[in-house]
Symmetry: D2
Subunit: 391 residues, 4 copies
């Protein structure tokens, strides 16, 4: 039985990222038959950053709030909601001081709450920009759900606000922080099966009404809500920025859910190295969340790729088909812990505002292509953050 | 142990298609634990139609010639080749009369060989039209490999030649005749999981040089050679004709294989019912031959979908993932037996010339879209066979 | 977005088991595309029972301590360890009052700690009986790891001690409390594929020395440590008690790990309904933890079946192979929450002492069969808890 | 396109076994994307040995007769059946001379038919010995279905008859000749994942009445009919002869199918190297035909393992699960071609009579263990063919 308490110390001395250490400690990843050589806990717990959660919808209540239980670096200390009764019950359940429940009217009072280090914006898409900027101006770091915002301009304003306030802005691309997609990202850099030639991806679900994701006013629609996973995946797998997009959409006349937004979109992207990607985003079909990377000597991919749990990594070489099994981790815990660790070290998170801006630029080009029936060049971001080409 | 000899008789009385009966008899499909109730053979063997095989390349020698051994309706009786030595050895091996070896110079002499009922054209793509038309004019039925021809005009000429000669023309879309794709076609008609919303497909392989499929002069390139599988699948799954196409291609500068043709193409198709399809065709990546059909209540698809053997049918509903297992059959035997049965019954085969023409129209639109950078309307075939719109 | 706070209230009114409600609330089980209709939290948190964890080995530190974070009913309040330094670090990490660290010398002082409701015995097998009985006599409920004890007599003494002290005793058969094995148990009662005929199971791992599980003095060996999973599975799948056992063992001469215990054992069991089971337990091969249930119309089973995470439920009918996907839950949290709920309701847990006693009787018969080279009748437990037949 | 005709010549020059060459030529094994470098046919066809098929039951008609179409070395030239009408129809179908139809009364006239080189005995188990011995005495080589015979004595007599007549006797263990089991056999010799520790296997099916396999008079029952696959697999995987067996059987009282034979049997075997095996044979449950080999560093196995088609090779190492894909081949063609090749080269086939004798010895020990309720030593075969120990 393992009695050695030095693992954490060793990791720190070895200069290994505190993220890796923190994650390894927070989540019991060891497969059942693996006997760790060292005591699988750290010494004292981390100081935890205080989070204010803004918007108590499904995602916040089912995924984000429970994820704090597994975190060694983050804890919920405040809630922002338009429904005070609901907020009170949530606060009581999670042991949050009821004085730290805010409404949208006194949102800016967060400024005066020193317990709040980070504001996590989990609002409808069209509200991301405003509430992110106000939180930054209130001196808080911001973790903002994806899609980053409704327009390129809003994304730029959010980035500028973070810079102006000297605060960190991170977009909640949770898949950058979980082991399966991280493995694929690594393969995209090391090319163990030769160069990548093409990638395909799909993200579909059958959305039930009423749902704000079906409304234009709240910046809904399948491209921003689920297609963004494909687009972000194309980018994190290749490590490149796409230059050209096509898009085709369909909106059924006879389905009352889709009065405002299309129910399905297909799209293609061209990357500088020659990689071509094709994908789909759907709001009216059963869940399929998958991608496949076509390389010279093999294909590999995740299926499912974008779910909260149960991801699987598949690989096919000529005469064998393989499933690689990795320890699973809570995506939200990993994401929040990453941000906390970067804030403490005064560094940019891996998915800062520019990550969201770039996806928004790609989606803008796809939407333009849908409207115009032609391939559309994708704008680029200059060294100074300006939008330098296209559209 | 089964002693009953009446199964075949029963099938015939019941009016069941002779194809189904023939196939069931020719191929030992019964799973090992299934005890057939009747004697699994027919009475006397079928009269067999005589085939002349034109072109003794890899496909002819590795797949088509061996497939005759399993056929109850077809037998090889003549060979056409530019290499007399090779043809002699093949003839000897398969017991073909050496007098029935032809070259391309005396190809039209097939007219005088009453043993030859069907000419199977297995030539490079750019030769399909000429050798098909000459065989039809020689009074033979023709089974022609896909892609049907290099141009829409050639396809029209081939169809016209069949009509003029009152002979049957079939395009060798083998997947229409094997159990896995047939099951998917049936699902595409009966919609067991609600309407189809989208489809994706890929067909890639790493083609080695030298290969006529890398040459423009022989009408090579990934779209016609492997992309046609995706396009045909989109059409046979939906049972609809697409109306609009986009395409994006890439040709690497630094790979000597791809001086003339692109190594990868992605494309999208729009169908009248709203179905959107997206796919890829590749010549420089490891084999991936798959499609997935996104329906309201499930997705299903084949992976692999286009191989000669080993196809698998996958289905995913909300809480389960299923692999449906069907008895496997030799695609080429089934395809040839279908044609023989239709010829004997004086009926059009399931994949007559128009099937090839329509894929060619789709590919023409994709190529136009690649060239022009815009979505392109796909031409339609009028009741009289004329091309009625588009391009 | 879900605003309804009534779910928990509804469940309670509906008389649904508090266990189900508690579990559903504690673990975010909803698949990502499932929108719960009600607020996925409860009102105020449960009162939590205080646990003393006895033995800070690998299992305690890697699995049990972290599992408390997900629990709504249990919290760690005391530690018992022979290594005070280690215990202090663990206590600090998990926020346990350092005054509540005990050694084995002052173990009985737990009696005077009103914060401790439950003692969780995570000690080497040969210490289970003593420390369970002392805790029961100290007025605490006990959750004891499996195998329950080294001998049938010890099991009987533990059961008697619980009865004498009027406390609850639960054996930590975690698989009774997690969704995959629960589904199989349900299938074992409802017989959706006809009667069960046979079952097979394996539980193997490659144990590295030094390890107390390789020692006779600590009641180690593959049968008790991993074989017990197979035996318990045979019993919970059938819902029957086996009547006869055979066993065959091997101990290699040339592997220093296996001086005292065999490295592999195979065994068979006969059940009253006619079900026959065959299985293996191994300490020198790579992990395989699986079982398969052979029924009239299908086979189904888990593979892996016994791991802490990543279980998979497979089903094979004639023409299809299916994987049923269930939401995953932390086994240890579910197990502890079950015990807490039963204690609060003053009821026996689902895996009380008799569950461990019965497995021990089976293992005794297998060991006798190994020694004697003959099939051995398995003793039964009478209504008064006495051992009524056999041995 | 491949023009080279030298492949077969090369193989012969290189001394590669004619079997391998023959098989490669007869069956189009090349995966679709593999371009063979050489012409995938041989020069002239092989001279084919003439086979008389004895017994026109399900197996003969559904599997064996069609398999001749794929063979380059074997052809059916005579039939033996008790049903002349049926035999005539089969003969007509397969082009067999109607004069070469025999009944059981004139069976010995096969002696006078020089076209018949090999007699393939496909009769009920209890008739194997008699008809094998008579065919050997008639000067023919014999391929006899498994199980070899009803008793050890019969097996010995068959071996003696072959020796006496100087003819070859082969038992139809088809799995020794197909790629998937051959790969496992190779792994059993080379130990790529360390030593084998244990093996499990199951072979079950739901047998429908009436069926001679349910009758004692015809030497039916699950052990001989399906259990023999497990036992043979244990032996060919380890390459060892087992020394000790246990067996447990059950016969339901309320199922009219099982008046004479048990419906299920479980058994264990001990091998000299320490390998322990456990398995089952069932006649009342859905098909499961699988085995798994537990090694130090991985487990691997086939599932299904014993079917006529669709075998799959699975492999599990610590963090990955793999399916190895091999080209499929007709088991019966490969088996017959092996025998033909060995006869021509005047060598013993890989599964000569002793292979069947040894399985029969193992089954005798299992049956004795079932009867006696104790572990039973398995008899061995001495250098002179005598049974040297046990029973």
């Amino acid at each position: 039985m393992a009695d050695d308490l030095t693992r954490r110390g060793f990791l720190k001395q070895a200069g290994q990222s505190a993220l890796a250490a923190g994650v390894a400690a927070a989540v019991p990843l060891a497969p059942p038959d693996k006997q760790p050589e060292h005591l699988p806990i750290q010494g004292p717990p981390q100081k935890k950053l205080g989070f204010a959660i803004v918007g108590l919808g499904e995602l916040a209540l089912s995924e984000i709030m429970p994820a704090f239980a597994l975190s060694e670096r983050c804890r919920p200390v405040a809630l922002v909601s338009g429904h005070p009764d609901k907020a009170r019950k949530v606060a009581e359940h999670y042991g949050i001081d009821p004085r730290f429940i805010y409404g949208y009217d006194n949102y800016d009072d967060l400024r005066n709450n020193p317990q709040v280090d980070v504001v996590y914006v989990v609002l409808p898409n069209h509200m991301h920009a405003e509430y992110t900027i106000r939180a930054l101006r209130a001196g808080k770091h911001v973790l903002c759900e994806k899609p980053m915002a409704a327009t390129v301009k809003e994304c730029q304003d959010m980035i500028a606000a973070a810079k102006g306030a000297d605060r960190r802005l991170m977009i909640a691309y949770r898949l950058h922080y979980e082991p399966y997609n991280q493995r694929v990202i690594e393969m995209g850099r090391t090319h163990p099966y030769g160069p990548i030639r093409m990638i395909s991806a799909d993200n579909t679900q059958d959305v039930q009404a009423p749902n704000i994701r079906l409304s234009l006013a709240t910046a809904g629609g399948p491209l921003g809500d689920v297609g963004v996973y494909c687009i972000n995946a194309f980018r994190y797998i290749t490590g490149e920025e796409p230059t050209e997009a096509t898009g085709v959409a369909f909106r059924p006349d006879d389905d009352p859910r889709f009065r405002e937004v299309p129910d399905r979109i297909v799209f293609t992207l061209r990357f500088p190295s020659g990689v071509l990607a094709h994908g789909s985003a759907g709001f009216s079909s059963a869940s399929s969340r998958n991608y496949r990377v076509f390389c010279k000597d093999a294909w590999y991919g995740l299926d499912p790729a974008f779910d909260y749990t149960g991801l699987r990594l598949h690989l096919k070489e000529k005469y064998k088909r393989e499933e690689v099994q990795l320890p699973e981790a809570n995506h939200f815990t990993r994401e929040m812990d990453h941000f906390a660790e970067r804030i403490e070290r005064n560094k940019e998170p891996a998915t800062a505002g520019e990550e969201g801006l770039r996806d928004t630029l790609v989606m803008a080009a796809i939407n333009r292509s849908i409207a115009d029936g032609r391939a559309v060049k994708i704008a680029d971001v200059g060294p100074d953050g300006s939008i330098v080409t296209g559209l």
